[in-house]
Amino acid sequence: MANHNTQATEEQLQYAAILEKGMYAGLALMVITFALYVLGIMPPIVPLNEISTYWSMPVHDYLVAINTNFVHWEHLPTGWSWVKLIGYGDFLNFLPVTILSGVTILCYMVITPGLFARGDKAMAIMAMVEVFILTLAASGLLAVGGH
């Protein structure tokens, strides 16, 4: 039987608790938004019976096609521009994906003050830098090549 020596540290349990809540929230929302999408309660911008003609295209061709046929913007729907399309069933599903991708940032932000308070400066600074790196990646500011 495990004793107290085998127990996780305070910040580890705190991190796990937030990660768990974020994960469950993201998963629950994903089920809801996907149901709204698939059941046609919130109509998608790309009709369900046409999606199979797009998922075999390279991403650039796909973006051009859905922009030309459905979105009609001057620029392709990349980065955070999906937020403008959140009223459509398919793009509504980006919301739980974003939560699941972003919960780690929140976990780090929450444990950082506790690490400083316990004098664990090295780990606290690492947590702050990690928040910066992940936020930078999420921002869409970084240019991406290819395709």
Binding site: T9, A16, N49, W55, P58, L100, S101, A122, M123, V144
Partner: protein, 331 residues
């Protein structure tokens, strides 16, 4: 008694799933569809592929947790060969699959103190930063070059794991200065041997430097990084295999987040293929993390090797076939 029966039933189920996933029939079926891509389904049948995707990723979720690999390593070669989705979306979904599999397993592993946050934090810092760079480079490179490089890397790691003498509980005579300063150590209860394992790590600086390469490769390939995390944490840095597997799984939730954001912002996400994949992998991970608590380290090690070998050969074959070299008859 009842727990023992459940344990055996669970391991039998996982073994069967592994056998199916790794069987020559599955490989040949995958090859056949890779050579003759599945035609786009009729508009009335669009729902069939997402349903199949849900089942396949559920099985992948179980195997990924027990193997300490990101689901993406299994997801990308199998889904890109067996399903009609373009590789761009498969890579994007693969990273999200690996990420969410890790999210589903992470809280349980952290609470059970099998995954170590203190071990993961310095590693994740380096790996996640380099994953961003890797994602940017990987999206600029020809796909067959990426696949071929990945196959070579995985097969190299398989060779290292096969020739390693110790790994379940590596011999670490003394913790090095950096790991001591960062207090990277811990104790966990090993139910199979009924012992408390007091672990520490060494070679911290070389290990961290290795994660520069691992992070870069994870982002470049879009396949997660569990395939490399476990050997480095276990064989190089000296963490026990169970701690390495669990910390690797948790680590993916951080490393893959940075790379996933790059793919997400690039538009490589189609909800109709991503959501069934994520739900399947997360449900599978819930089952897998419960089996991990009672699984034997040696069993996990051999399963990791089998999964990595299959994934490596698959990646090499696909890379070469794009270059006109057909190896489909070899496996």
């Amino acid at each position: 008694m009842q727990g023992n029966i459940k344990e055996k039933a669970g391991m039998l189920f996982v073994s069967c799933m592994c056998a199916i996933m790794l069987s020559p029939a599955w490989a040949l079926a995958t090859e056949a569809t890779a050579m003759n891509p599945v035609p786009v389904v009729g508009e009335a049948d669009w729902w069939k592929w997402p349903v199949i995707l849900l089942f396949v990723t559920f099985v992948m979720g179980i195997i990924a947790v027990l193997g300490g690999v990101g689901g993406g390593v299994l997801f990308v070669p199998i889904i890109s060969g067996f399903f009609p989705f373009h590789l761009d979306f498969v890579r994007g979904a693969g990273l999200l699959v690996a990420l969410c599999g890790a999210l589903a397993a992470g809280p349980g592993l952290l609470k059970a103190n099998l995954a170590s946050l203190r071990l993961a934090m310095p590693v994740a810092l380096i790996a996640s930063a380099m994953a961003i760079v890797g994602a940017m480079v990987g999206l600029a490179l020809p796909t067959h070059i990426v696949q071929l490089s990945l196959g070579g890397a995985i097969l190299g790691i398989v060779a290292i794991m096969l020739t390693a003498k110790k790994s379940v509980v590596p011999d670490v005579p003394h913790a090095d200065a950096l790991s001591s300063a960062l207090r990277i150590t811990g104790i966990y209860y090993e139910p199979t041997s009924k012992e408390e394992i007091n672990w520490k790590i060494h070679r911290t600086i070389p290990g961290l430097l290795t994660f520069i390469l691992i992070g870069f490769m994870a982002g470049m390939f879009g396949l997660g990084a569990g395939w490399a995390n476990v050997p480095v944490l276990n064989l190089m840095m000296g963490a026990p295999l169970k701690i390495s597997v669990a910390t690797s799984k948790f680590l993916l939730s951080i490393t893959d987040t940075s790379a996933a954001w790059i793919y997400l912002n690039k538009g490589c996400v189609i909800p109709m293929m991503v959501v069934p994949s994520l739900i399947g992998i997360m449900l599978g991970s819930f089952v897998g993390v419960r089996l991990l608590k009672v699984a034997k380290p040696t069993f996990i090690r051999w399963m990791v090797i089998a999964i990595l070998l299959f994934s490596g050969l698959k990646a090499v074959q696909k890379g070469l076939s794009t270059m006109g070299i057909n190896l489909s008859n070899l496996f």
